[in-house]
Amino acid sequence: MAEVILEMKNIIKDFPGVRALDNVNFTLEQGEVLALVGENGAGKSTLMKVLSGVWPYPTYEGDIYLDDQLVRFDNTREAEEAGIGIIHQELNLLPDLSVAENIFLDRQPLNKFGGIKWEELYHNAEKVLARLNMDIDPRIELGDLTVGKQQMVEIAKALSLDTRILVFDEPTSALTDSEVNELFTVINELRASGVSIIYISHKMEEIEEIADSVVVLRDGSTIGDKINIDQVTLDEIIARMVGRDIEDLFPSHDFKRGEKTLEAKNISVPDPFNPEKKLVDDVSFSAHKGEILGISGLMGAGRTELVNAIFGVYGKKREGEIFLNGKKLDIKSPADAINNGIALVTEDRKELGLLLDKNLVMNMTLPSIKKFSSKLAMDKHAERAVAEKYVDELNIKTPSLDVFVEKLSGGNQQKVVIGKWLITESDVLILDEPTRGIDVGAKTEVYRLMNQLVEQGVTVIMISSELPEIMGMSDRIVVMSEGKKTAELERSEADQETIMKYATGNKGVE
């Protein structure tokens, strides 16, 4: 057995109204990849923030031992110096600075006059990036990179600090499949060179693939001991996480396809930066009552742009026609779409979905404020009652309805966004990556909810990058590639290979 390099002992962390961590214990060995799993709000991110000095010592209780030495960090700087790096759930970089500056932020090589020695800086950055086999020019602005590459820069930054323990908090939620593979290659190399890794994810397949061992958190406590990944099945891990068995992740449904409801004809969206190109290129599809329509494709295929176009985000720049129940709609803004009974659960909850420094009630009722107000005044009691109902129904973990949503865990924030659109009781519900960042238990809840909505006559459209999800839930699948629709498949004809074939640009016949 390798040497234990980190031990966290009896860690307790309280926030006003919640105990986020309640006696957490675990150890980490050199060169180990440890998966940290648990439901939304279980305390995973909080635990890692304690470890990395985001929450300094007296704000938590318990002891952290690094090489058998008790350590108490006052800030992230001290943790970094002790060799602990963290890639946060939300990326922490500065998009306007160059890659090299991001890697060596505050630690740039300086000349006598305090100016930056640029050549040396770029050279050093190249060296670190080379360790990751990354072909990234350290001179370009970070914001010009894809999310996957940005994450590599963040890893490079951690490595440049002689990191011995590297934490990944849900690193793959915004990565394409090939980027995930790249990431795993890097993680394997790091492990081989003796770096220990703590890996947080809600995606069980990833954990099976990359982790050596698993620690389960539930309601702020470690459940059982660390287990070797070879000695446990995924179902057992899930059962530990949620405290019960989950029979089938994708609850089956057996609907009868009803009449055509939403119909999009020849939708196109020009690329604002390149008039030659189109973000969405002449896409037509229709959705029916009594089915879930899945939209699949690789990242950047134009799926989000397509549903945004239907939702009125591009205003008059959108080309093509939209019909609902045979009636042509004139949608020029999200307000028009909402008024016509179309709801869109947006992809990026922080930027597009939530008012972070407002409470749950205000967030959840925002698109339907008309329902909760007369001409003169808001009906605050009715508002609260509805918010409360959906907090219950979606099992949103929160100390009260009055906390700012930024204080919720990532997955619970996602549920608030879903709740916000459910309250509108729209006829058409479009969900863009609805289960990103939410735990297995919550995922089945969302799926069940989708089924329930379909039964109630709501037209449900779901974009997802996860093939199992698309195949498990949709009755019909539209596949897109580079802005174009490349296929429309019935559930029976859809398998992984077929979808991937069309998603990678093989333009099939319809």
Binding site: P334, L355, K370, L376
Partner: protein, 370 residues
Amino acid sequence: MKKFIKNNGTFIALIFLVIILSFLSPSFLSSRNLTNLVRQVTINGIIAVGMTMVILLAGIDLSVGSVVGLSAVTVTLLMQAGFGMWLAILVTLIGVGGVIGFFNGFMSAKFDIHPFIITLGIMTIARGLSLVLTQGVSVPVTNLTFAEIGSGYIPKLPSLIILVVALVLGIFAVFKTSIELKNGEKVRNKARLTGGIILTIAGFIAGFFTFIGYQGIPIPVAIFAVIVMAGIYTLRKTRFGRKLYAIGGNEKVAWLSGINILKSKTMVFVITGVLSAASGILLASRLNGASPNLGDGFELDAIASVIIGGTSFMGGVGTITGTVIGAIIIGVINNGMSLLGINTFYQMIVKGFIIILAVMIDVLNRRETA
């Protein structure tokens, strides 16, 4: 306790200021001085109510001072031209305040230009217009009833009745708002209840001493009070108010949630324009005439009141109550320094420091909670 001080910091600062001034200058606490002080506050306070909404949207309106000037000039000239008083007032409110506000809001929202730029332009244009209209000289008010609006009083007996009604309503409101929902149950917040009642009664006594002890409630103060209450109601209770907080919180999210940004923004600037015009009309009435330079620099006092009152210049956070306290602080500082014989030049310097201080406090608070 620490939280209490943090939440009520400006109010506590105001009380300290009053105590210090009452020691430094014996005439400060006289009914006459206080009545004048409150009347002075109203001119800036009315504008600041609108400015609160603008800053809630993370915007700014630099044109308010020029609107004050142009409105004062317009209403005076209209009456000289034979318009009836009420018609002249109405035309000024809509034709000057409303139109300029609409232009400010519509231009900045429609073309996504920062209101700083648009309102800066309008500020100069409106000032220029006042100078053109008056040929650069002051114009006198000829209508005698008009002067009453700005300098008249509600007689003592009705004033007393108003104060008593306000006391009763105030205590009633304290009772209603001191109930909190805790875990679904209604709990009375005792501290807030007693605090609220003490404040209401103290307010009544102060009002009694100030107004009944002198000549009654000045008419502009009554108008201001109505505007403040309407403003508080709008922000706290109405759908429109909710939309403003949402837009200030994150415009994109609000838009994707179906809020018509253009409409809300335009509305806010129209309100601010109309309020500034009202302020200009009151000022013309008070001074019995208008000079084209009237209102010069008023935007600074209005912005300062809003920021001192705790509204964040980043948008999304703030209250009218805070702004009123901010406006009173500015008024007390102006009044106090005049009483102490401090040159107005120095007053400007002091006010500048206070604005910076208020912004610092906002920024530091933000850091702490982040």
